[in-house]
Homo-oligomer: 288 residues x 4
């Protein structure tokens, strides 16, 4: 029995390959997480357990998809970056997005009980949506990453002050909102310090900077590599021999995946880790 | 501190709305499920627990996303259909696909232990990818559904015979493959019956027909509704008043979601359930 | 000398096939035609020569591209319709749009001197831009056509009244504009009639209805064909044998291409010309 | 009379903006030019009049669309390049492609009689199709340009030899084809020289190199500008003040548009004309 009569329906599938030689960012966001956070009584302004669960899921995604070179997470969102030379799934947008969203969600649900041992999950379960965006140049990519980290900073300073006014200052939500309207960063720092003796600089790095996930190789002296030049010279979608590709894959598999809370806006972070932009694995650090 | 310097990166997001007034099918597929099935020792040719877990996850997806009108699953794949008038997420492809994939995966992982109590999940976890396809006419949509069900039939007949030759006939994989090469459906039925006294018609419906998931309303006498005409007359992306929309939503929420194993190729299935194509909820059946 | 080193750049071409089984409308618009009309002293509110030049160019486009089933023009715009089963250029949007725009422009420039014998063209030359839009159902397509014809009517009634006030009533532009602000159709008819003894109904059909271009076959009694049903049953992108295709092509080539000024909003126009929606050429009328 | 009932059809128009910060190449190709060339008895292997008509049309396109920074033509094709920072028509693909195709065709038809005074155009008229492709990096763009110029060289060497064998050597088409099968460049040079005393190097530059169209500013010493760096630092779709934009526009309008036949594969061409990649107009050369 052939299936030919109906098979024409395959012709309706439309291609969705992303432009070659561009950086692909897949950003996922928690769906309805305000409600979800209330249901499981997430602490305000930051719930350490929830953030660490996000980070654990992101680390698992990077382990299963070695093509991801770096990821950045804040609150209920995570951005995963594929190198501009990446050809995973022929760069089909729906494959890339759905695979990341699915893998992330699977681990989020699976690891939940380890992070929230006292609050078993019940329907409706947490879920995430996602989208892919292409960035043509390193500068565009870095600006995207900076955009997310600046956003993290702005939101966290606001939230830290807002919840201090409520939790420590006894204000109502509307009152606190009203007080913060139109304030600058300096004002919020001042409120925290003068009213509650909180030095914002001493807040946990994970809250202030978000979380960066990447493979751990030996750091490099800044200024010794012109990665930008090297990377702009890569022009073709695939430029590696198969052997080279396999070698790189092995080195990536061997590398530890770190979750850190660093400044990714300044050059230093990128200069010392040239593998992030070059896409070529660095040296595995010796065991101490 | 404003975020304006980097915010331009948002301009790189490209719209991906699906054409209005077309049926949207989101199909998801298990990633690497051959390996996954081996790891958890799925029974061959069909693992009842695994299929029921798929169905339970699909039912959960339909509960959380009432805009889905019907779903069809076979093996490690599931197709979810949005009515052509649906405007969920402004019909953005990545939102629709990622939300379904995420919700499905979440439930698959969450419900795993209920279906496989003796095999706890361990990394790498199961995951799914997905894509959205638009079908302009009812006939195209029904042909898509028929395509999947014919595929189910072809594969299941093959697999049933193949594994009978191996499990009951003591053949090796290559030998069984060789024997089945070029055979027709009738030949396979004959092999099953003459060698193993298996009447393929008596195989479980879930294996032969796959699983159809839909809301349960009162069945209708075929021939009393011209749904096709009615549906072709719907032309705009949104054609409902807000009240009507809310009423429909409530009736959908009240309806039981059934998982059945029926022929969806013939007209009868669709004629008796006009709500599937009209998108308008039917009458809630009285309690028995 | 091989060209392999640079050939990778072809990979950056992204597919742009339009969804199968949908009606494709390519609409072209004059670029900067207000200025162009001033340069060549087009008559206001309608320049017969300019409209007839548009029609001549559209007729030439339809002669060169027999896949176009109907076209509709008003002012400096023209819409060309490809049947939903059309597979010309594999339905690639840029090919369809650019070919129509190019052919139309070529004839517009070439035929200019026949329509404007006293005003030779000089740079900057007239040009057109275009875009393709898909319509899934007959109703969507007819609503598109109706939208353009209603627009023609609204604009022409306004312009006729506006220019009567100026040319016959001696008003200034601003004064006329002010007077017409907020008026209804009935008001404009009244102004035309009471002030200038113009009965709008007696205005030329080309100005009131725009121009419809189509192939001439024998008209059919309304009610004898259920074209809509027939057309919805066409589901595949290609459904013809090669012989049938060639026969149809010949009949299309033989048919005269008419430019008429008819109501295309009501059913009658479509009912009497079933070939427009069926895509199947009708009977060539006998010579009188 | 409002037009609201039908206006919903506008929702079916789908956006087609090209990715920001990428170089946009619009390539147009003559449709059916083999037949067209025969109809008007184009000389073989190159018709000087036909090529000069192509160049005149391209120059007109660049005059009317100052956003185009460079164009390259060979045979019946022309590629027009928009700078990566260009925001013309909001970077909508169909607008960019259709405007270029239309303008080009208009001039091709309009200027025909000046180039072919003895062969008046008659239907079917010449027409062109077009498509837009995005290139993320300067290297990709230059590789595209090199690809076209290498193609020009390969084809022209082949055609020159092929037609020499026929026109001077008295061979038939098949015989000439057979003889050239599998030959290298050196072989063809040898055939030309030994059999017909033709030194390929002395062939006209327009035939060997194609035609490059660009604005004329003062040349720059190679090595004094790091344009590549400068250009990669441009990241946003629009990065100019309005005054700057207007100034640039004026300088572009003042610049002469040259049609030359130069090597665009080597760095020298680009190094001496930094305005091509920087997008910033250079100095207008003093009158001699």
């Amino acid at each position: 029995m052939a299936n030919s009569k109906f098979e024409y329906v395959r012709l309706f599938e439309q291609p969705d390959q992303l432009l070659p030689n561009t950086w692909v960012v897949v950003r996922i966001d928690g769906r309805g997480f305000t409600k979800f956070a209330t249901k499981y009584a997430f602490e305000k302004p930051n719930d350490k357990r929830a953030l660490e669960l996000m980070n654990a899921a992101a680390r698992a995604v990077m382990t299963e998809l070695p093509d991801i070179t770096i990821a950045y997470g804040v609150s209920d969102e995570y951005s995963f970056v594929f190198h501009k030379s990446c050809t995973l799934f022929e760069r089909r947008a729906s494959k890339l997005v759905s695979t990341i969203v699915s893998t992330f969600t699977g681990y989020y649900v699976h690891l939940w009980s380890a992070h929230f041992p006292d609050s078993p999950l019940s329907p409706p379960l947490p879920s995430f949506d996602g989208r892919a965006v292409c960035y043509p140049s390193i500068q565009n990519l870095r600006d995207y990453m900076s955009w997310r980290q600046v956003d993290c900073h702005i939101n966290n300073l606001y939230n830290t002050t807002f919840w201090a006014l409520i939790q420590l200052g006894g204000m109502g939500h509307t009152e606190a909102e009203q007080l913060l309207k139109g304030t600058y960063a300096a004002d919020k720092n001042e409120i925290l310090f003068s009213r509650f003796s909180i030095n914002y600089n001493n807040e946990p790095e994970m809250y202030k900077k978000g979380s960066v996930v990447f493979r751990d190789y030996e750091l490099v002296e800044p200024g010794t590599h012109d990665v930008a030049k090297e990377v702009e010279d890569m022009v073709e979608p695939v430029q590696q021999s198969k052997t080279q590709h396999e070698n790189d894959k092995k080195r990536r598999a061997k590398a530890r995946i770190l979750v850190e809370h660093l400044d990714i806006i300044k050059d230093d972070f990128w200069d010392r880790r040239p593998w992030l932009l070059s896409g070529k694995p660095g040296k595995i650090p010796k065991e101490p």
